[in-house]
Symmetry: D3
Subunit: 131 residues, 6 copies
């Protein structure tokens, strides 16, 4: 796979995760204005290389991503984008909420609450849109 | 559910995760000598309350736990214990390894490598024991 | 102690820490709408189980909580709620400010400044209300 | 060097880094109202003691500071102030952007993106002012 | 206070915290061989400036330090040294253990367990020496 | 640039940073046994893509890497490998030591001391080998 393919594969995976229009597309666009180099590295490595591995499903990947983002803290933008993707690739609302609750004994309540508030905003919007 | 039940439920879940003898049982024992109060809180809350939720399978919980522990860093003892459990509840070696690889674009390679080295030690031992 | 008692004990401790109306009550309410399970775990474990230990006074607990929250960073909501409680259970303004200053050689100035700005907002409001 | 000299040296270094008027001067002012003791410790230790070392240039120090602040996350105010200084002491826009990109394999994209967005806001403003 | 006084004050406070011979004295010695500049900054700022504030007692400072060190993780050497000091300045074994337990709902069990194991080693040794 | 080239470029950069035999080569080897996929991602992305940017010199990159690794904590293996590289690409011992000292006001002494002890071990060995 050459670099053009890696980037295209990345865009393909982003579209699988989030449709034609999403926070990921927006972030890619903003990054491209600031630094095309960073935009390329981000799309090609994270979404082209890593998300193409077949050992895990996209549902598994999205819940694992929510786990790492809530643990790190301070990544509301990314957490919201991945909550959106989690719902789009078929994770249930209940799985996402329990994923965050599951972290309570590992990281404590402050980051669990922060994560829940950010993530739930997206879940709420998703349900309202579906209604 | 009263507190005795919560503790018993915790021990029951630990046994589901890791058999009759495991690092979790050892940690519980060590803790009991240092502080029975902490040992109780740990078993009852983490394993009694949280692991009893039915929205996620034990396989899902173990991979999510690996994600948060590798992200935090500095938790080799816990990461090894949960790698052991992940294998016991039926996660494949490939899923565990890809879970850690999946974190590369989110936390960077230093903690991914640290996590992989600790986790792989357990995987290796598990395979050797099975052979 | 059964689970109903743990929750009730938690509410009792929250009220000791913060009166009948406070950020803690608000957070509990918001959480209850999102996830009654998380709201219960939070109140019963953090405030029911942990705050009931008699080895430390509530003043000691509040200063220790400020120490861990400022160290973690990114927990302004929680830091403000616990600054409020610290003042209500009798910690002085001077103790709270020095607690944050004390962290400078351990965590550096960026998180100390962030913590001080958030915490001081509450101290200021408390003094204005008292005036 | 006595304490008055350390503070004066700190102010002198702040002025070298950021001119007569800057975020650092503002922060110092805000801190002085909250806690003169913290304001003094901050200026004397960080800028008086540490920045006076001659083993590194101010350009080197500012890029190293950007590295530690982006790594920590949650320090946008400080990151913007040091991006401003980096530009004032002669680091190029390209060096600053590549410094943040350089962190991708070490800390992952979430904190790299957060840092880039905060830092680029200052770079943009600097270029607009220069135009 | 000039710099010689700050350093002397630092040594005086280290001695109050830990007697004539302690891990702090050892660390200071090791640092002096590696970098006299860092050894001076460490003693003068941390122990000379910060520990001289009178708004908190040494007992309060030591428990707050244990809180920040357990929260950060990866600081066993420092945590052991401060557990030693906590005991020497009059904190009880029960207060130290409950300080670490108190952190469970704020940082989760992995770092609480790591901290407890390191800290308890010192408590054990202290009790054995006293016996 | 296709993927074979990216990997080759990565090896070329590793060799520039650390000679024909180094900790990086060892880590790559160990990783290859555990997961060829992770070994490839690591070499191609970190050393092939990122280190090939021409906006920063290798000396600058190595000091920035030391800053992020000391800030993260718990990465002694990586910190030692990059201290080795820093020395090989021409950073002086004084610059490396001051880089770590420079972090004191940003991250506090515990992680600065941990980093200094790990890094200095390599500096010492480097000087002994040169003698």
């Amino acid at each position: 796979m050459n670099n053009v393919n890696r980037y295209e594969k990345g865009i393909e995976n982003i579209t699988k995760l989030s449709g034609e229009q999403s926070t990921f597309h927006d972030v890619k666009g903003i990054l491209k204005d600031i630094s095309p180099r960073l935009s390329d590295l981000f799309v090609s490595f994270a979404f082209g290389d890593v998300y193409s591995g077949e050992e895990l499903t996209l549902q598994q990947r999205e819940l694992l991503t929510i786990s790492t983002l809530v643990t790190q803290g301070g990544c509301d933008l990314q957490l919201k984008a991945h909550t959106e993707s989690a719902l789009k690739v078929g994770c249930t609302k209940e799985e996402i909420i329990e994923t965050i609750i599951h972290l309570s004994p590992y990281i404590g309540f402050p980051r669990v609450l922060n994560g829940m508030l950010a993530s739930h905003e997206v879940i709420q919007k998703f349900e309202d849109d579906a209604a």
